[in-house]
């Protein structure tokens, strides 16, 4: 597998090998993220392909520090957008709805409130900063479990399988992390 720096240079050189190499290195990861959110291989493939399209259009001028995170983030956003479009009426459906329900224990969903777009954007940025700080305080195993569940969308069973931890440890770790995050956001004055 080609290293990230070389792949990014292919993007800068406008070589289509950049797409092939990105797919070779990260295609599986990107599809995991998309499938976890959308539960459809066809939709996941569409998101994966769109990810490469978006990457092609943004590199250059962007030069990501982490190609893995850069691509994964695009896929996650595209998948969430597609999920929202297809579930605008039926909210809370499927396991993505379960993920949202779990997270709302500590991070309330503000999309139904009457905040303006500007207020929502500012609050979202503040929240992301707080979550970043919070993640830095977690032990590595707790943080990985939290990220695999809520960022990558893995089921609890998949988190356990991917990390080698037991299902009960994963569940306990997630519950503890959610409780700690709620407490942390409350102490930081974030409106819950």
């Amino acid at each position: 597998m080609m290293d990230d720096e070389s792949i990014i240079e292919l993007f800068f050189a406008r070589s289509e090998d950049a797409i092939t190499e990105s797919k070779s290195s990260y295609g599986r990861l990107l599809c995991t993220i998309a499938v976890n959110i959308l539960h459809s291989t066809e939709d996941a493939q569409e998101c994966e392909n769109d990810t490469y399209f978006h990457a092609w259009n943004t590199i250059p001028p962007q030069r990501p520090d982490s190609l893995c995170s850069f691509l994964a983030r695009i896929t996650r956003n595209l998948s969430l957008d597609m999920y929202d479009r297809r579930n605008a009426v039926k909210r809370g459906q499927g396991s993505t709805g379960l993920l949202t329900d779990e997270l709302e224990e500590c991070i309330p969903d503000r999309t139904d409130t009457e905040c303006s777009a500007v207020e929502e954007s500012a609050e979202s940025e503040l929240l992301t900063g707080l979550i970043n700080t919070f993640l830095g305080t977690l032990r590595r195993d707790s943080r990985v479990i939290f990220m695999r569940r809520y960022w990558f969308g893995d089921s609890v069973a998949d988190v356990a399988a991917n990390t080698g931890y037991s299902v009960s440890k994963v569940k306990m770790s997630l519950k503890r992390s959610r409780d700690e995050l709620r407490s942390y956001l409350g102490k930081e004055g974030f409106r819950l």
Partner: protein, 209 residues
């Protein structure tokens, strides 16, 4: 869900590439035997389901299920793993092109396992008799931090151990991570589950090369 999208790259990458080798640890003989038995049972039922049977004339024929199973596309085939367990350091050296010296056991862990991660990193995982993960020692070419741990520890200290400049990270007088470079290679010790004292981690680092 959206608020999480903007988290730092390092946390995304850490979770994407996290592997403890525990999956390999869990594939011990008892588990393998149970898996083999389960496979045999599954094969039996599969034969029934696909209707492999002898016709009245004694000819064997098959009737395929009306419900065709969807084949798994390549990009969803997760049967491969980034971790390859090996039986010896010689095998690890064949894959990575280099070898590593390290103790066979580290107290209080009575077992160890060698693996190669992503084809370029040798890992020795030390664990208890009940397969609880103890600590791991990693070696790869280059100079970047291969610990894979982006925790914001309270204390970071640089110490010299056997002529090597080592960065220790941890909380409350115990160390969860050590990282150093020597001779064109980068090393890391991960002891998050049971952080080590300075003496313990220094002793381990002296024995690794």
């Amino acid at each position: 869900m959206r608020a999480l999208t903007g988290v730092d790259d390092c946390y995304v990458e850490e979770a994407a590439k996290f592997c403890t080798g525990r999956r390999m640890i869990s594939l011990r003989p008892a588990v393998l035997a149970v898996s083999a038995a389960a496979c045999a049972v599954a094969m039996f039922f599969l034969a029934q389901y696909t209707g492999i049977f002898k016709s009245a004339t004694g000819q064997i024929s098959t009737v395929s299920s009306e419900t065709a199973s969807e084949s798994v596309p390549d990009y969803l085939d997760f049967s491969g793993s980034p971790i390859e367990e090996v039986d010896s350091m010689d095998e690890a050296a064949k894959i990575t092109g280099f070898t590593m010296t390290a103790p066979q056991t580290v107290e209080p862990y009575s077992n160890s396992l060698i693996s190669v991660r992503f084809g370029d990193t040798i890992a020795i995982t030390y664990f208890d008799s009940d397969s609880s993960l103890g600590l791991e020692v990693l070696k790869a070419s280059g100079s970047s931090d291969i610990s894979g741990d982006y925790t914001d520890y309270k204390v970071t200290r640089t110490v010299t151990v056997a002529g090597k400049s080592v960065i220790l990270r941890g909380n409350d007088n115990s160390w969860s991570v050590a990282a150093w470079t020597a001779g064109g290679f980068t090393y890391a010790v991960n002891a998050q589950n049971r952080p080590l004292t300075t003496d313990e981690i220094s002793g381990l680092i002296e024995a690794v090369g």
